[in-house]
């Protein structure tokens, strides 16, 4: 019986001591942490999968509370969980519209020049390291499919013309393709965006013309014709502001290389067939 008592007293004392030390240090070394961060991380699944791009669930919770990430940023959480978080923080889930990835380059094998024949590791990041890639245009898609492999959701595949294609139904807008691409060709746009310039080249018009038949010349014709002032030219590249664009299509006519186009959100044609 005595040994039972020893055990209870010793371990109880250790437990008490541990609790005390923790409590007291927590009090002395108190750092104000937004209590909502703890509440949010409790709601999150707690798998620390890193799918959101943050270093674990607590990190994401902090980002959500500080407004740096949307309430539905967790890829693993269901919609109800997102609603719960939003309700707790008093924000709405829909402040951020669903985004999808689109490929901002149309320079396929026929349209874009190649500087040399690349025979190295079949990965865009590797190709980029070799004299800046084999594509003559230093902004264009290298077409080795790194983004396709990076997609967790099987929403991308390589098209017949050597450019990646996004299945916008499967795309969750996680942005891993945009992150992994050394040239950031896949970009996220709101699903409601009506028109976009499917080119990423910031070169001057002349240089663009030399290497690609479907590159933005930055001549500003689209900008002039836009009645809503939705188009701006940023370093020789036309950019459409989705908030202003009404999708009237006046600019489509004026664009010589026909790269400012209506955004047509596609389904993967292969899936459709199957």
């Amino acid at each position: 019986m005595e040994s039972v008592l020893t055990a209870i007293l010793t371990v109880g004392a250790i437990g008490m001591l541990a609790g005390l030390i923790l409590g007291v240090t927590a009090k002395i070394f108190y750092v104000h942490v937004d209590p909502r961060i703890g509440q949010v991380s409790d709601i999150l699944p707690g798998a620390n999968c890193g799918g959101c791009g943050y270093a674990g669930c607590t990190d994401l919770a902090a980002a959500i509370v500080q407004g740096n990430a949307p309430a539905n940023a967790c890829k693993a959480a269901s919609d109800e969980l997102a609603q719960e978080i939003a309700a707790m923080l008093g924000i709405s889930v829909d402040t951020q519209e669903r985004q999808v990835a689109q490929i901002f380059c149309q320079g396929d094998a026929a349209a874009a020049e190649r500087k040399f024949t690349y025979m190295g590791i079949q990965d865009c990041r590797a190709a980029q390291e070799v004299s800046g890639g084999d594509k003559a245009c230093r902004y264009g898609c290298l077409g080795l499919g790194t983004c396709v492999r990076a997609c967790f959701f099987g929403a991308m595949h390589m098209g017949p013309n050597g450019l990646p294609v996004v299945n916008t139904e499967l795309c969750t807008g996680c942005g891993s393709c945009a992150q992994i691409c050394p040239r950031h060709i896949p970009k996220l746009i709101p699903v409601s965006q009506k028109a976009a310039t499917f080119c990423s080249s910031h070169d001057v018009g002349r240089a663009v013309k030399d290497v690609c038949t479907v590159g933005c010349l930055g001549d500003g014709l689209c900008k002039k014709v836009c009645p809503e002032k939705a188009v701006t030219i940023e370093k020789f590249l036309a950019v459409v502001d989705p908030a202003k664009c009404t999708g009237c299509g006046l600019c489509f006519e004026k664009c010589i290389p026909r790269i400012i186009q209506a955004v047509v959100l596609t389904r993967d044609s292969k899936k459709k067939a199957a």
């Binding site: 437990g15 541990a18 609790g19 703890g38 409790d42 707690g46």
Partner: protein
């Protein structure tokens, strides 16, 4: 309700079989899988600890303050582990010697605390029990699969019975630590293959 209990139980065998799907609890799966016998012993020890911790955690889930949650859960788990340790020492001494340090290490098996945190903390006792039982048996199953391969190919026996002809020299590499990693990796690859096939058939 009954359907849910069954569902929580069966998910542990294929859909969420812990070591093979989530790479959770692979440390013991690698360490004690040289023989089927020790794998079984380890598996049942984990089943017991998992069921006990799931039930107790579920029982106290509403009275434990959040700040000391982990400490309380871990104490409960450690208690289960020590019980297993003592009982095994008393009645299965040779097994106790073989498993050695891996019995206390059940405490830090990610599956046990993982189920307490992810499931038992939020669910009633019966569901937690069935979850624990399913997950534990799933863990045992994966251990048995790995250890069968290692024991049969490594030393030509299964559960100590000779399976392969006497002339079989034994593939010693599988019995050593690096072999464990390689064989486990290959099993995961085969699992992927099977899953892909099943999915294809469904689609």
């Amino acid at each position: 309700m009954a359907a849910r209990v069954v569902n929580e139980f069966t998910k542990g065998f294929w859909k969420e079989i812990a070591p093979l799907r989530f790479a959770l609890g692979i440390c013991p799966a690698l360490a004690v899988s040289t023989k089927v016998e020790s794998a079984l012993g380890m598996g049942f020890a984990v089943v017991f600890v998992l069921c006990m911790s799931n039930v107790l955690v579920s029982a106290v889930r509403n009275v434990v303050p959040d700040k000391v949650r982990i400490a309380v859960f871990i104490s409960i788990i450690a208690t289960g582990v020590v019980i297993v340790e003592l009982v095994m020492q008393a009645y299965f001494y040779p097994l106790f010697l073989v498993l050695g340090i891996w019995i206390p290490l059940i405490v830090v098996n990610c599956i046990v605390l993982g189920r307490a945190e992810a499931f038992a903390r939020k669910n009633p006792i019966l569901l937690s029990l069935s979850d624990g039982l399913g997950m534990g048996l799933g863990f045992t199953l994966s251990l048995v699969v790995i250890s069968s391969i290692r024991e049969i190919l490594g030393s030509g026996t299964w559960l100590g019975m000779p399976i392969l002809p006497e002339a079989y020299p034994g593939f010693g590499f599988l019995l050593r630590p690096p072999g464990a990693f390689v064989i486990f990796g290959l099993i995961l690859g085969i699992m992927n293959l099977i899953s892909a096939r099943i999915e294809k058939k469904r689609a």
